[in-house]
């Protein structure tokens, strides 16, 4: 059974369609890449899936539960969590406190939450700075912190929104390794990414969005050779 089903999801803002009739589904344990040019509606789709916007049309089903109308916090408790394109650290809280906030979704004990948090920090290799203020971390570490915080909510599906954006190649590589490691642990992931090299490496399947619609879906190879995708990315070749 698919862990996530997206059926005919549309989202309108005023008269503008940010997503129209997008459908795809994800299997347990896979990594789904979600790509598309600027303004293609990737982040809007994330918002529709995680409860920030109710979809105007269509359905999102997670582990058999219909998500439409559920709030982000309820979605999180069901086991789906997202990160943000523009990192959103809880700036005036320490690193470990940030992650504890996530862990507290699963426990009310601060002690348990701290242990859980430290574990996640170890996973993302930030366990050497638990007491630093999150707002003072360099961008690469803030991105990792965000992943750790999301992991602390013990998700079954992790949605990553441009975790590599703004990172240098070495940092990006670290994140790629992290994603692959999480996959090895059985975590299902959906990844929005602009770095094509990276997305091609990590994704099992890729969905391409263009001006709100699903343009293509398939394995990385398939996608790279798809002329529609090339046109969407490089512009129409005019002879």
């Amino acid at each position: 059974m698919a862990i996530l089903d997206i059926e005919h999801v549309s989202k309108f803002f005023g008269g503008l369609a940010a997503n129209s009739d997008v459908s795809f589904s994800m299997e347990q344990g896979m990594i789904m890449g979600l790509i598309g040019p600027n303004g293609a509606g990737k982040t809007t789709l994330f918002n529709c899936i995680t409860g920030y916007y109710p979809p105007s049309k269509g359905e999102v089903t997670f582990k058999g539960t219909r998500l439409n109308g559920l709030q982000p916090d309820q979605v999180c408790r069901l086991g789906m969590v997202r990160t943000w394109q523009k990192v959103r650290p809880l700036a005036k809280l320490s690193v470990v406190d940030n992650v504890m906030v996530g862990a507290l979704a699963r426990t009310s004990s601060l002690r348990v939450a701290r242990e859980l948090a430290m574990e996640q920090l170890k996973v993302v290799r930030l366990d050497h700075k638990p007491d630093f203020l999150a707002g003072g971390l360099p961008i690469g570490e803030r991105k990792k912190l965000e992943v750790a915080r999301a992991l602390a909510t013990k998700p079954e599906l992790l949605l990553l929104d441009e975790v590599m954006g703004g990172l240098n190649p070495a940092e990006s590589e670290e994140i790629i390794q992290l994603i692959l490691e999480l996959k090895k642990r059985g975590l299902t992931q959906m990844v929005i990414e602009h770095d094509m090299k990276a997305i091609m490496r990590i994704s099992d399947r890729i969905v391409v969005l263009n001006s709100g619609e699903k343009l293509a879906e398939g394995g990385p190879r398939e996608i790279a050779d798809n002329p529609d995708v090339i046109a969407a990315y490089l512009g129409e070749r005019v002879e």
Binding site: G165, M196, M200, G235, E236
Partner: protein, 234 residues
């Protein structure tokens, strides 16, 4: 004409541009292509001095811009048509165009420039009294370019003019850019639409995560394998 040397820029601790070198010569169309988030727009924002570079220099006809406040940059003839149009939504077409010639030295040419804009974009002439915010994306883009032309630009900075437009309109816009250049305005263009923009460019730069990785005549880059690789990861 416009020269960028070793430009570095960071938003906070997020470094966006690394040692960017770029040059625009009189009469050229120069394009910067690159994926989302590569830092293309940031270059233009630095030139227009909406932001201050971390290091490096930007000179326009020999004048170092670091000592020029942003509103003076426009007076020097550097006019930017920003990404997402940024039309003044509560102003009419005419008012928007008038704002394009806010700089004192350009006000005397206002009538003539307006004629020129209306002849380039007859659609705008039909909608003089319409509020900017109520226009379609394509019309807004025309208005944004028209507004830029009102300022007698010597060099025009265009930020993703094709974004969100239908293929037909995209083609149209690029034709007009070419025409503007033919009429004597130097153009620095930032684009995601690689094929279209390279086709009309004299020269182009490829930007990857804040670094210039390739540069050369537009036509050459058009067939360069690296460009494809940079964009599609293949």
């Amino acid at each position: 004409m416009l020269q960028i040397r070793k430009l570095n820029f960071a938003y906070g601790d997020l470094q966006v541009l690394w040692d960017v070198d770029l040059e625009v010569k009189q009469g050229e169309i120069v394009t910067v292509v690159g994926a989302n988030g590569a830092g293309k727009s940031t270059i233009l924002r630095n030139v227009s001095r909406l932001v201050r570079p971390t290091s490096g220099s930007i000179t326009f006809e020999g004048t170092e811009l670091s000592r020029v406040p942003s509103h003076k940059v426009v007076e020097m003839g550097i006019v930017q048509v920003p990404e997402a149009r940024r039309i003044f939504p509560e102003m009419t077409v005419t008012e928007n165009l008038r704002m394009g010639s806010f700089v004192k030295s350009t006000r005397k040419d206002r009538e003539r420039n307006m004629e020129r804009v209306f002849s380039l974009f007859p659609r705008l002439a039909e909608r003089k009294g319409q509020l900017g915010g109520t226009m379609s994306g394509g019309e807004q883009q025309m208005l944004a370019i028209g507004r830029g032309l009102m300022g007698n630009p010597r060099v025009m900075l265009l930020d993703e003019p094709s974004l969100g437009l239908s293929p037909l309109l995209v083609r149209n816009i690029f034709e007009i850019i070419k025409e503007i250049n033919r009429q004597g305005t130097t153009i620095l263009l930032v684009e995601q639409n690689v094929f279209q923009s390279l086709r009309i460019s004299h020269r182009a730069y490829v930007l990857e995560t804040g670094r210039v990785v390739l540069s050369g005549p537009g036509a050459e880059l058009l067939d360069n394998a690296h460009v494809k690789k940079a964009f599609l990861g293949i």
